[in-house]
């Protein structure tokens, strides 16, 4: 089993700060939340699983707990690490601070996570608000082949298909890295508000709409701007925005392409076909269907479900998906592909399965 989405936290702030450029360390130390932006709303209880909340040593997202509860417990071969709050580094107002933070974070992940737990793989953080600086950081961090992808947060200034972001994708493609766009940061810092109608009032709105529409918008933007025509080897995984909406959106996009292709004449085949070749989706949070799983999987099948879904637990977040439970929901002939094969093909050689 490959878990495409495990979140790790900065538990020891002083240790993390030691990785920062000394000229900027004081600034980060004296900000709340290490200078990362915040949402205008907040979660009603907390983002992390509350198992053991009342017990000594409660530390969700700590290395030892990830090893025991996310990897050992399910016999996971590989877990892909995604920064927790730190993924919103690209929404800081200052690209200079963001570049320093991303560099420190990548070095800290290499030393403190990848060195200590051989089943984990890293994602490269980059200051996407400054795409040229982001590309430099990607090329630098990619020298360590335990980094398997570039992580972009779905909260953004503009949709990622825009030409301004090309240096990021170019660097990823050149280094043999894929790109993950993980829902997070919509409406935060310099990001556009999630949902497209102004800031959400509640977390429940963001978790229902904002976190899904950002992913939808990036998906359509990447396809329409011809990203995959420019970089034929590049693949993108969209994480945590849900999947039940995908068939409807794809039918809509294919229909619109038939009538409106004059706007995007470089798109020479149906968007849904491009998607099947280049875009993958993490399963979590797999929509709870109130007894309509058969309908859900029938719809997803029409969108290429068994070949485009990749299992993710989202450990240790409050709404994580237990792999055992996901297995029981997936149609039998999807299980190997969704739990393992699709992710293995997506990450390719950099995943280093031979090393496990």
């Amino acid at each position: 089993m490959i878990d495409c989405d495990i979140h790790h936290v900065v538990a020891d702030q002083d240790e993390f700060l030691s990785y920062l450029d000394p000229g900027q360390r004081e600034w980060f130390k004296t900000r709340g939340d290490l200078g990362l932006p915040g949402y205008p709303w907040s979660h009603p209880f907390g983002f992390a699983l509350e198992d053991g909340l009342h017990e000594p040593g409660y530390a969700p997202g700590a290395l030892e707990r990830i090893g025991r509860e996310a990897l050992d417990a399910y016999g996971a071969e590989i877990g892909i690490l995604h920064a927790n709050d730190a993924s919103t580094v690209s929404l800081m107002a200052s690209p200079y601070r963001a570049a320093a933070f991303a560099r420190a974070h990548n070095d800290w992940v290499r030393d403190r996570w990848l060195d200590d737990e051989p089943r984990l793989r890293g994602s490269i953080l980059c200051p996407a608000q400054d795409p040229l600086a982001a590309a430099r950081e990607i090329r630098r961090a990619a020298e360590d082949d335990r980094f398997v992808e570039v992580l972009l947060c779905a909260g953004s200034e503009r949709p990622y298909g825009e030409p301004r972001y090309l240096p990021i994708f170019e660097a990823a493609a050149e280094c043999g890295l894929q790109v993950a766009i993980h829902t997070s940061g919509e409406g935060m810092g310099i990001a556009a508000p999630g949902g497209g109608v102004g800031p959400h009032t509640f977390y429940i709105e963001w978790h229902t709409v904002g976190s899904a529409t950002s992913v939808m918008s990036h998906m359509v933007s990447l396809i329409c701007n011809g990203l995959f025509e420019r970089f034929p080897t590049l693949k993108v995984m969209l994480l945590e925005g849900g999947v039940a909406w995908l068939p409807g959106l794809l039918w809509r996009l294919d229909t619109n392409w038939r009538g409106l292709r004059a706007e995007v004449p470089w798109i020479e085949r149906k968007p849904s076909e491009i998607l099947r070749d280049h875009i993958r989706f993490s399963t979590q949070p797999l929509e709870h269907t109130d007894g309509n799983d058969e309908l859900l999987f029938e719809m997803l099948d029409a969108a290429g479900g068994p070949d485009i879904l990749c299992f993710a637990s989202d450990y240790p977040h409050w709404d994580w998906d237990d792999p055992k439970h996901v297995l029981t929901r997936l149609p039998k002939d999807w299980r190997d592909r969704v739990m393992h094969d699709n992710a293995a093909a997506f990450y390719g050689e950099r995943l280093g399965l031979a090393r496990v």
Binding site: P44, F45, L49, E50, D51, G52, L53, H54, E55, H288, W318, D319, W320, D321, D322, K324, H325
Partner: protein, 118 residues
């Protein structure tokens, strides 16, 4: 045939905040309901997706008598540590989806030890 099982001293519950006991292949959690100081026992398996329910929080559940108002229910509920669904401590009914229910068990204290009927 159900019978009483001696699961732990009361002092252990007060120290740890909860007892998770294994009785006949099932995990059963014993928790204290602070509203009336009573002990409650529920199966440690959330009927939603099987999460360890009794490792969650015992808390007052919010209600809103009108949009924009936040009030608290008089009694406590148990909130699952995964996904946040809440359960009635006495009946085991899921307050967020009444079609779901977790098994509940009788509890008594004998000579400062907790006994569960299961």
């Amino acid at each position: 045939m159900r019978e009483w099982h001696d699961v732990a001293p009361v002092a252990q519950l007060d120290r740890d905040g909860r007892i998770i006991a294994r009785i006949g292949g099932r995990e059963i959690g014993v928790l204290r309901d602070s509203t009336d100081d009573s002990l409650k026992a529920l199966r440690n398996r959330c009927p939603h997706v099987g999460s360890p329910l009794c490792r969650g929080s015992v808390r007052r559940r919010e209600r809103g008598s009108a949009p924009g108002r936040y009030e608290l229910e008089p009694g406590n509920v148990l909130r699952c540590p995964h996904h946040g669904w809440e359960f009635d401590l006495s009946t085991g009914v899921c307050l967020d989806d009444p079609a779901m229910r977790v098994a509940v068990y009788e509890v008594r204290v004998v000579d400062d030890r907790i006994h569960v009927l299961a």
